[in-house]
């Protein structure tokens, strides 16, 4: 058994690295146009977007987030199953020790559902027509805290 030297985090070292963001499409509906628009916007903002495509289960999303060591997870959901799926995704991330990875979601999510989702660990909920700039600002505000 070999133990690796621990990284000694320095103030300057995290500045230049691109943020890595997972964009996934949970649920069974087959439209990923919204997810692709976000993926492209984040790329154009200088981020590395891992795009996993349609019909992702909570476990698939969490496992990809772990392997890809992402800084945030973004979910696009139109199926109406957000109240069930989003908390399960947050739970699957927690189970893998990824509770420090911020989760945001976009799609058709009624206002009255938002508080419960925030409670369940979805840090950012962006309804239809949310400016992409808001999502980018959300990611930037949430990510530098990670080591």
């Amino acid at each position: 058994m070999t133990t690796l030297p621990e990284p000694k985090p320095g103030a300057s070292e995290i500045s230049a690295r691109p943020l890595r963001i997972l964009i996934a499409k949970p649920g069974l509906d087959g439209h990923d146009r919204g997810a692709k628009v976000i993926a492209r916007a984040l790329r154009d903002a200088g981020m590395e977007v891992i795009y996993t495509g349609l019909r992702q289960t909570p476990e698939m999303i969490a496992e990809a987030a772990l392997q890809e060591d992402v800084d945030a997870v973004g979910l696009s959901i139109l199926s109406g199953a957000h109240n069930v799926l989003l908390p399960r995704i947050a739970e699957a991330l927690r189970e893998r020790g990824l509770s420090d990875v911020p989760i945001f979601a976009g799609g058709i999510i009624p206002d009255e559902d938002v508080p419960a989702l925030v409670q369940a660990g979805i840090a950012g909920v962006f309804g239809p027509g949310s400016p992409i700039a808001d999502i980018i600002a959300f990611i930037r505000a949430r990510t530098p805290a990670r080591d």
Binding site: T2, P7, V49
Partner: protein
């Protein structure tokens, strides 16, 4: 596995290596004695030829073949970074959905981050980390490749070039010259029309290529020597979509491995790889050292002289070298 790292630790280590963060080199130094066990296989070919789908099916087939929980397979999938924003969309996982749920498989997407050779500058070190972690097979998917994207041949023991039947008789790999690094050629999308034409175009391209071991990973290393043994890349028909021909493709990769072992060619390539790796790193260090020691006065002087065309850039470089009094 020989390291007491969780998969999460591994994922974070890869990030540190990619970013050249502090501590990454120390970790790589510690890992290095544990490397050298993995079979490293490169998969390259034109955009959309089906590399990701094929990589996914190869990983699956390898896992099924033994029936044991072996070999552990890691996949490194490289996609290009945008030269404008520096960002990237890494979409290879879309085609690897079926691998989910197998804890013996680890997939990592990487952006090329400005490197032009079809992989990222850090890909070799990331492969080392996966090797040390205990993955027995590491599959590297390059960016959709054209003429210049041949660097995977510097890391992989076996390079698979993926070709798909196209419209007309154009063979992408031949056009791009990428066939030179092929150890095995996979004609994917064999469920489509035009496979026979594609295969015969590839055959005739191979006929006119030098046959004496100039193929494969070796063509891209600096010190290629002629041993006369020769390896003609086999052409394997596959349909990644229909899961056909995958077992035959793995068999061809095994045959190539046996060839590398039996002829000593694998060892020769390995020595060449080490040498060119050290040289590349030395070149980089020398340049950095020189740039630190050259004075601003000398530097600005030659810049101005070259700008006015009174000094050739080659002469300028010599002058700067002289100023170091090596």
């Amino acid at each position: 596995m020989s390291l007491n790292l969780t998969r999460r630790d591994l994922a974070r280590l890869i990030t540190r290596i990619e970013n050249g963060e502090r501590g990454a080199q120390e970790a790589l130094n510690a890992l290095y004695p544990h490397t050298g066990r993995a079979r490293v296989i490169g998969i390259t070919g034109a955009p959309g030829s089906g590399k990701s789908t094929l990589v996914s099916e190869m990983a699956r087939a390898w896992r099924l073949r033994s029936g044991l929980d072996q070999p552990q397979v890691a996949i490194v999938a490289v996609d290009p970074s945008s030269p404008f924003s520096g960002g990237a969309i890494l979409g290879d996982r879309i085609r690897m959905r079926d691998l989910y749920g197998d804890s013996g498989i680890f997939i990592r997407s990487m952006a090329s981050r400005g490197a032009l050779g079809g992989i990222a500058a850090a890909t070799a070190d990331v492969v080392s980390a996966l090797d040390a972690y205990g993955f027995e097979i590491v599959l590297i998917e390059t960016v959709g490749a054209g003429q210049l994207e041949v660097d995977v041949a510097r890391i992989a023991q076996t390079v698979i070039v993926v070709e798909a039947p196209g419209a007309g008789d154009e063979v992408q790999a031949v056009k791009a010259g990428i066939l030179e690094i092929a150890d095995v050629i996979a004609v994917n999308k064999a469920d489509r029309e035009g496979v026979a034409q594609t295969i015969s175009a590839l055959q005739s391209a191979l006929d006119i290529a030098p046959a004496n071991g100039h193929h494969g990973a070796r063509a891209a290393t600096e010190l290629a020597s002629d041993d006369g043994t020769g390896w003609r890349p086999p052409i394997v028909k596959v349909s990644a979509l229909n899961r056909e021909g995958i077992v035959e493709l793995l068999a061809a990769v095994d045959t190539h491995r046996d060839y590398l072992v039996a002829t000593g060619e694998g060892e020769r390539r390995y020595q060449q790889r080490i040498e060119s790796d050290i040289k590349a790193r030395l070149r980089e260090l020398l340049l950095q050292t020189a740039m630190r020691r050259i004075t601003q006065i000398d530097y600005q002087a030659v810049l101005a002289a070259v700008g006015q065309r009174s000094l050739h850039p080659a002469e300028a470089a010599l002058k700067l070298l002289d100023s170091l009094h090596l």
